[in-house]
């Protein structure tokens, strides 16, 4: 696409995939200064790069370090790109609220999901760890996300996922949001048992589910 400022987009994708955070941020700045559209950068660089990173993880080519480095590069890029996206009036495809349940402070997996979703263009509200069911529900009420993602590491802490879904239902909000769950002890049968909509074994499947939700 000559003349649209997008000539440097392939090297940008490579920087993200290789986890070169500073270079990615600088390259996005250069491309924006050169006239590239923020939305085009998102669609043609950021999203495809993170798609490939997620695919590499599922294929067993990337592991935790490569995922974290790529996600960090993506985040650095987004720090530069996001203001430009907002100014241009670009819309996010959707919004996801994430958190780790009460009594649990494991968050590496949840953070990877968040970064993967951001890399796919979603707006992510991360509530952090040790989040009570009431706070999850309050966040759904406040942010009106399409998807609520709940993480837990242990059998004992994952039980709080059911509490959250129950309170969502009591608050009349259950039908307003799709709930996805994940974590080391979680499995598909448990997700079904507690009334969640989806169990995600990794960040890529969580991203794919969120995408399916917003595209219907």
């Amino acid at each position: 696409m000559k003349g649209d400022g997008m000539e440097g987009v392939e090297p940008l994708k490579q920087m993200i995939k290789e986890g070169k955070a500073d270079e990615a941020g600088d390259r996005i700045r250069e491309l924006l200064d050169g006239g590239a559209s923020p939305e085009a950068l998102m669609k043609e660089a950021m999203i495809p790069a993170m798609e490939e990173v997620g695919d590499f993880f599922q294929q067993g080519k990337y592991f935790l370090p490569e995922m974290l480095m790529a996600a960090r590069a993506m985040q650095r890029g987004m720090e530069v790109l996001k203001p430009a996206l907002v100014s241009s009036g670009a819309a996010f495809p959707g919004k996801v609220v994430l958190g780790t349940v009460r009594g649990d402070i494991h968050d590496i997996g949840k953070n990877l999901v968040g970064m993967t979703l951001e890399g796919a263009g979603f707006e992510v509200v991360d509530l952090g760890t040790d989040v009570s069911p009431e706070r999850f529900v309050e966040a759904v009420r406040e942010h009106s996300p399409q998807v609520l993602g709940i993480s837990a590491l242990l059998t004992t802490t994952m039980l709080a996922m059911k509490d959250t879904i129950d309170i969502l239902r009591e608050a009349g909000l259950r039908d307003t949001v799709k709930v996805m769950v994940g974590g080391a002890a979680v499995r598909p049968e448990f997700a079904t048992e507690i009334g969640a909509d989806f169990y995600g074994p990794d960040s890529t499947s969580a991203r794919d589910f969120a995408r399916d939700v917003v595209t219907g």
Partner: protein, 374 residues
């Protein structure tokens, strides 16, 4: 709920060792656990102990108080009392390797009536960069000692031996750096990770060597979580370069005394199993989750080369019924017992959120199996 019907009321470390080393297909299937949470041990053995102090005792530095030392002795007594009450052929204890550690982050679990659980900080540790490494107060080699082994050995009934638990070098690397920083540095500065691992290896070799040399130690139980549900945490190539050769040194320190080297590792570690068996020379593997790979399948793959330990999913022990636990125990035994080289137990540990009646159901079904096949 104290245990009314122990698994058995005699102790046979020699048979246990033979099963671990796959030297026999005869005799009863032993039981094994890496750990039981103190609440479980207390209830089973009918002994009181302040469970909330265990995290503190695990993290004792080079200058514990007299009160902490007395509490440590009580914990060792509890471990023995628990093994005696249930009928394990060993009591587990932890040699002292006083590497400074960050405090565990304690959180209440409202689902467990507010019981506290200790969490490792994932984002930072005591060594975040080369400067931290250079300044780190590594303990002198002579501070590595097996006083807990010697004490525990002095308290054992006839036929019971000591199992010495060693926390792994990769595990300690994650603890010292925080898993997130460790992951990033493994790419940006692998030599730093390598230098930390080397320091830890020298200490671990010393602990293993001293422990395995003790006549009352039946085996070394080495803990090294290397995987997530779907894969290794780091690439097989990285693990082969930086970790596997060091694991071999540690296993050699055990094997030179003729003792079994049992590996505990959570997660999907298939990509490294050939290295662990052929290069490191592990004698057994522990820790299985049904949603990663049921223990029967692992036994099918590796049970002709190493012994397979435990495997009853902790989730089932925590949330299932006694009948479900008994049924699952029997199904596991039907696959894993006839060929030998198998010990029954949980898939990880008997945590304080396991229903104790389910734990007893697993023991009881295994006892019944042994009676039926004697």
């Amino acid at each position: 709920m104290t245990i009314e019907r122990p698994f058995k009321d005699y102790y046979d470390f020699e048979h246990f060792r033979q099963v671990l080393m796959r030297e026999t297909t005869e005799g009863p299937v032993p039981i094994i656990e890496l750990f039981a949470d103190p609440e479980i041990m207390c209830e089973t053995a009918g002994v009181e102990f302040p469970a909330e102090r265990v995290m503190e005792l695990i993290n004792l530095g080079l200058e514990p108080t007299m009160e902490q030392l007395e509490l440590g002795v009580r914990l060792m007594d509890l471990s023995v009392a628990f093994s005696v009450a249930v009928g394990y052929d060993y009591a587990i204890t932890i040699p002292i390797v006083p590497v400074p550690r960050t405090d565990y982050l304690l959180r209440e679990n409202p689902r467990q009536d507010g019981k506290m659980r200790g969490w490792q900080d994932e984002h930072q540790g005591l060594i975040m960069n080369r400067d931290d490494f250079e300044r780190f107060a590594w303990p002198p080699l002579e501070t590595v000692n097996i006083v807990p082994v010697e004490y525990t050995a002095s308290k054992l009934p006839e036929g019971m031996k000591v199992m010495a638990f060693i926390n792994g070098i990769f595990e300690e690397l994650k603890r010292l750096m925080g898993i997130e920083q460790m992951a990033i540095k493994s790419i940006e500065e692998p030599e730093l990770c390598g230098d930390i691992l080397e320091r830890l290896t020298v200490l671990a070799e010393e602990a293993v060597d001293k422990s395995a040399a003790h006549p009352d130690v039946v085996a070394i139980f080495y803990g090294e979580d290397m995987g997530f549900n779907t894969s290794l945490m780091l690439s097989p190539a990285w693990m082969r370069e930086w970790v596997v050769p060091r694991l071999k040194r540690i296993a050699d320190a055990c094997h030179r005394h003729g003792k079994p080297f049992l590996l505990h590792s959570c997660g999907q570690i298939d990509a490294l199993m050939e290295d662990l068996i052929e290069v490191v020379g592990i004698d057994a593997r522990h820790s299985f989750q049904d949603n990663i790979e049921p223990v029967e399948e692992v036994y099918g793959k590796y049970g002709d080369r190493i012994s397979i330990l435990g495997g009853l999913d902790v989730d089932l022990l925590a949330r299932g019924t006694q009948q479900e636990v008994a049924d699952r125990t029997r199904r596991i035994l039907e696959v894993c017992a006839p060929g030998g080289g198998f010990c029954m137990g949980s898939g990880n540990s008997v945590t304080n959120f396991v229903r104790i009646e389910n734990y007893y159901a697993m023991l009881d079904e295994t006892r019944k199996w042994n009676e039926e096949h004697s």
